[in-house]
Point group: C2
Amino acid sequence: MEKWRLTYRLLKHSSNFDRRLTSGHRYLFGRTFIPFKENFRTLECPSRSYVNGASVSFARVNGNSYAVQHRYLASVASTTQRNPDFSKITSDDITYFKKILGERGVVQDEEKLDDANTDWMRKHKGSSKLMLQPRTTKEVSQILKYCNSRCLAVVPQGGNTGLVGGSVPVFDEVIINVGSMNNILSFDKVSGILVCEAGCILENLISFLDNQGFIMPLDLGAKGSCQIGGNVSTNAGGLRLIRYGSLHGSVLGLEAVLANGTVLDMLGTLRKDNTGYDLKHLFIGCEGSLGIVTKVSILTPPKLSSVNLAFLACEDYASCQKLLLEAKRKLGEILSAFEFLDVNALNLVLKHLDGLRDPLPSSVHNFYVLIETTGSMESHDKEKLEAFLLQSMNSGIITDGVLAQDINQTSSFWRIREGIPEALMKAGAVYKYDLSVPPEKMYELVEEMRARLGSAANVVAYGHLGDGNLHLNISAPQYTDGLLSKIEPFVYEWTSKHRGSISAEHGLGLMKADKIHYSKSPETVLLMAAIKKLLDPNRILNPYKVLPPSILSQS
Amino acid sequence: MEKWRLTYRLLKHSSNFDRRLTSGHRYLFGRTFIPFKENFRTLECPSRSYVNGASVSFARVNGNSYAVQHRYLASVASTTQRNPDFSKITSDDITYFKKILGERGVVQDEEKLDDANTDWMRKHKGSSKLMLQPRTTKEVSQILKYCNSRCLAVVPQGGNTGLVGGSVPVFDEVIINVGSMNNILSFDKVSGILVCEAGCILENLISFLDNQGFIMPLDLGAKGSCQIGGNVSTNAGGLRLIRYGSLHGSVLGLEAVLANGTVLDMLGTLRKDNTGYDLKHLFIGCEGSLGIVTKVSILTPPKLSSVNLAFLACEDYASCQKLLLEAKRKLGEILSAFEFLDVNALNLVLKHLDGLRDPLPSSVHNFYVLIETTGSMESHDKEKLEAFLLQSMNSGIITDGVLAQDINQTSSFWRIREGIPEALMKAGAVYKYDLSVPPEKMYELVEEMRARLGSAANVVAYGHLGDGNLHLNISAPQYTDGLLSKIEPFVYEWTSKHRGSISAEHGLGLMKADKIHYSKSPETVLLMAAIKKLLDPNRILNPYKVLPPSILSQS
C-alpha cells in the first residue's frame, strides 16, 4: 500500500500578512517567514488523494491565534522509480568536487542539505547527500562535465521557491546551487539593459535598478528569495506581465551550461539579432532540464512616477470583458493591472479577514475589477482614469466604482484582491487550480464547476483577467475523495478542450510532468523529448521533471 | 573564374515615393511597384565584390527622369555546390503532387516560376521547375512527407520580400508557396488575439484589425506583399519594435509542419502557458529551415488615437543617448519611435531630395533625433511632449527642436528620415550595413569608419537608436575593391568584437549564412546545426541557407 506523510505545523497567526506573500502566487502558504523547522509534526495517512490538497485551520493557543497548516509529503519512492542508470556518489567524487570548488563549495552538512532537499511547499523531499556551490560558469561547466561522465544526476537550484517540486531532488541527485554567482555584471542606463549572474536575488536586482531609475520587468511574491536564473529557467510570470510581457520578450541573452559542460554564450545585449535560431528560448522555461542558466541579459523598463487604482463593479462576466476591451483602448499605454474577482471571492474576504470593508457598500454586485494604471504624469493618468470611469458608468459596463484617493485606500483595495487566498484558507479545505483559459471562456468553467458540485462546495474565481489567468478555487468544509473526483480530471479535461494551460506560470516540475498532455499535443511532447535527449543524452539534468519519464525512456 | 551577372533596369523616377517603400527596410530598391520584368538588361562581370553593392544613377529620357538601378546576380553555381543527395523532380512526382493538390496547386508555368525563382532584390535566382500551392496544413504535410521520403529539397515561400536571398531556390528546389492559405481564423476583441493562416498578407491583417480597433504589433515597408508566415519565420522587426517588442513576445502560438510531415500544433492563444519547452520560438526566425509555419496566433495591441512627432537637434552623440534615457522616463508609456540621423545624413537628404527643407534652419547641428509618441489622449500627449522638449532644451541635451503642428509637417519630418536611402542612391555608390550594436558603442563604429576611409567616402549614419539598430551607409562616387576591402571584414569584425549583430532584422538567408560566426559563438552554431539535423535529417528544408552547409555536413 502506498503511504503518505502528512506534515503540519503551527504558525503564529497575524493579520499583518506580507502583501506579496499572500498574493495569488503564494496563496498556499500563509506566512512563510516563520522558520521551516518550527513546530513540525508528522503522521502517516493512507490516501494519496490528500497529496493534491491542503487544509488549514485556526486555533487559539495561550491567547495567541495560530494557523495549523497541513502539508502532505508524498512518499516519492512509491510513485517514481529511481533511474538505475544513475551512479551513486562516491568518496572519489567528493574529492574531485573539493578539488575544483574548495571545501566551501562542497556542502555535506545535514541541516543545510535538509533545507535544500525540501521544497518551499514542503510537499516534496529528496535525499541528496551533496550540494555544490559553484562561483563561476567555469566551475558549473566542470561540475556538469564530470557528472555527465559519471552519470551522476543533478538538480539545478536557485532560491528554491518553485511551487511544483522542480527545484529539489527526487532521490539522491547532486544539488547544484548557483546562489554564490550573484554579481551584477553591467547596466546600461541608455538602453536599460542589465547583465547579471544567475544567482542574483530578484529583490536585489529591483533595489539596484530602483537607484538607477529602472524596474525589473517582472515582480513576484518570492522576490526576496527567488533568483533571476530560476526566474528565467521557469519563465516566471508575476504581477507585471500584462504591461511588460513574458521573459521570452524581455530576456535578451543568456549564458547556459549544457549537461556535457559545454558553455553556450548567448549573452547578447541586443534588442534585434536575426542571426540563426534564437536558442535562448529553449532555456527560458525548461526548468533546468536542458541546461543551467549562469548569466542573464534583460531589458528593464524605466520607473514611472504615477500609480492609480480603481475598484469597480460589473453585473455580469460579459461586462468584465467589455471593460477590459475599453481599458485597453482608453487607458492603453498606462494600464498596468486588470484583476477580477467574483462576488463569492469578495464575500469570503469580507467574512474572514479583519479590518476590510466593501469599497462599494451601497449594493451587492456579481463581479469586481481592479484596474491599476502606471504612467509618467499623475495629473494625466488621473484625468484619463476618471474620464474612463465616467464613460463606463454612463454606458452601463460598470454599475459602481471608486478611485483610490490615498495610499491607505490603495492598500485596502489591493488587500481585498490579495487577501482572497488567506480568506480561502480560513474558510476550510480548498482545491486550487492555476489555469490559463481564453478570457471569453474563462467564467464558463467556473459556472460548469458550480453546476457539477452544487451545494457541496463554494466555487470561487479570481485572477489576472488581463492575462487570461484564472485562479479557480473550490472551498469545502473538508477534503474528500468524492469531491476531488468530481473536480479532477474534469478541470484538466475542460482546460485542455478549450486549449487552455494547466499551468499558467508555475511550470510542470515533478508535480505535473505526467499532465503535460492536457496542454501540449503528442507531437509537440515527442519533439520536446527529442530535444531533451539531444541536449542531455544521459538525462542527468533535473530528472523526473517536466516530461513524463516514460516518454524519455522510449528510444 | 567566377562569373557574376549584373542586371540593371530603368525605373521611371518620381519624387512621390511611397513612404514605406523608401523606409530603412527597403532602401535598396527605390520604386518596387514597377513590374519586375520591365527594362531589364544583363551583362557579365568578373568581380565578385560587386555582389555586395549596388549602384544607381539617374538619367533623363524623353523628358522623364529615370533611375537606372543596377543589381548583381550571383552566378550561384560557382559559389555553392548543389547537394548531390537531393533527388531531381520526375514526372511521377508531378503526378503525385497533382493528385493531392489538383492541377491548380501545381505550377510549372515558366513565367510564374521565373518570378518565384527571383528574389525581391533581384540578386539571387534559382532554377526551380516546380512551385506547389497548398491550401491546407494537411496538404503542406503531405507535400513534405513525400519530399522527405524522396529527398527532394524544398523552399518555403511567402511574399518573397526577404532581403538576404532566403525565400528563393538556389538550384532546383521545389517552391512551396503558402499564399493560398490566407484565412483569418479567429479574432478575440477582448484579448486582442488574432489567429490566422500563414499566407495572410500583413496589410490585409492590418486592415482587418483597423476595423476592429486594433493594430498589428509589427509594421513593415513590404506589408503589401509580405505574409505573416514569412514575418514569423524571419522574425521580422520593423517600425513598432521599440514599443511592442519582437515577435518572440507577441506571437502566442504557431502551427508548423516538420520536414517529415509531422504537424506541430502549438497554436495556443494564451499569454501564459508554462507546460514544457516553448518550441514555437525555434520556428520564429528559423527562415523556414526547421519547418513551415502554417498558422499563427498573435497578440495585437489596441489602436490609440493620438500621434505626435518632434524633430530635435543634439550637438553630440552622448546627448542623443541622454535624450533617449530622458524620453524613456518622461514619455515612457507613449514613446513609439526614437530615430536618429547624423548631419551627413541630413545634408544628403537636403541636397538630393526635392521639396525638403531643414526643420531647424537657424544653425547646423551634429545630430538629429525624431521622437514619435502614440497615446490615447491627444491633449495629454502634446503636453507631455512639450514639457519634455522644454526641459531638454533647458538642460542643454537638445539645442533646438520643433514639434510637428499638422499632418504636412509630420510627413515632411518623416520624409527626411525615410528619404535618406533615396538620397544615398542619388549620391552614387553606397555600401550598406544593417547592424545591431549596443547603443553606447554605436557611433564609435561610425567614427572609426570615417577615420579608416578618410576623404574616399562619405560615412553616413542613421537608424533606430531606440532599438540599437544602426544603418551604416558608406557613400562613394563608385564601387571599388579597394574601398570594399577597407570596409569588410572590418565592419563585421568590429560588430563581432562589440557583441553586436551583423543582421539586426533581415536574417542570414543565403547571403550571410557563412557569416554567422561573427554574431554567434561556435558552440551555439554547433547546437543550431544539431537541432537542424534533428528536425530535418535529410536537410530538405531551405538548403544552403541560415547555417553554413559545411557545418551541416559534419557528422
